[in-house]
Symmetry: C2
Subunit: 140 residues, 2 copies
DNA sequence: TATAAACCCTGTAGCAACTATAGGGTCAAG
DNA sequence: CTTGACCCTATAGTTGCTACAGGGTTTATA
């Protein structure tokens, strides 16, 4: 009762069919067995795994990160120091991204404030521009 | 006094030389004049512009976004409704990213908590795994 | 039963935004 | 006058997909 085609698997995990085949090609998702007509047949195990992968991707883990996580998980009894390390590192870069995005949000809000009915010349986003890079031809 | 080589420009803006040439190739950064030996010579205007570009990139604006911003800025007197639009749209996606990352941060913290001295099997990150996708061979 | 729509297959090329490499030429210092 | 740091072009590689092209299959329905 857990057998499904690639299309169904895609629908259940909000993943495009091409993406699933791509994950298989790069060895992230194990090859499923095939029907006589060479159609892939997926199980619930694939469903769970792909769900995990998609979730991790959404959260910004790289495919290499995920590979590491899966490799470590495959052991099953190892202490999860290594997983700790990956997660901690990811947490750190996440903190940085959040800080950067919060700064951006503030600047965007400021921009929208100051731009209201204003001119481009006053736009904070545009500040530091005025390029005209072929300016004076002060030769040597 | 504002003339510099590509290497210097790169150092001043924390941009790799290749990236600068790439920006030129895709028409984002205007072509500078050249020395007799065909070396690029950049001005302060380039410095400002590239600074703006890099900052915008860091904040997550796509190159197409930046192109739009620059095009609008080139006008100089147009009302900045369009810039508003770009910024507002970016603000929206920024909010979403922040929310996602905050969720991630929480989950990473939980993970690090629960993983402390635990086993992979108990790792929250790893939950929903146990793949073993070639499980029972319940044929038809 | 035919036939069309909806699905599946492989393989390759394209996307963004760089980054790296190969195979050169130039310029400043010792 | 040579060494090393810099510059040049052009092309291929990276990550994580996505979109064809050019087929076969299965399913629903007339």
């Amino acid at each position: 009762m857990g057998n499904m085609t690639i299309g169904r698997l895609g629908r259940e995990t909000s993943t495009k069919v091409e993406t699933i085949r791509y994950y298989e090609k790069i060895g992230l998702l194990p090859e499923p067995r095939r029907t006589a007509a060479n159609y892939r047949v997926y199980t619930d195990a694939h469903l769970n795994l792909l769900g995990f992968i998609r979730r991790a991707r959404e959260l910004g883990f790289s495919i290499d990160d995920i590979r590491d996580l899966l490799r470590l998980a495959a052991h099953g009894e190892a202490p999860c120091d290594d997983i700790d390390r990956i997660a901690a590192q990811h947490l750190e870069t996440t903190e940085k991204k959040i800080a950067l995005l919060m700064q951006l949000r503030r600047e965007l809000r400021d921009t929208l404030e100051s731009c209201k009915g204003g001119r481009v010349a006053e736009c904070k986003v545009i500040v530091a521009l005025s390029p005209e890079p072929r300016g004076g031809q002060t030769g040597a």
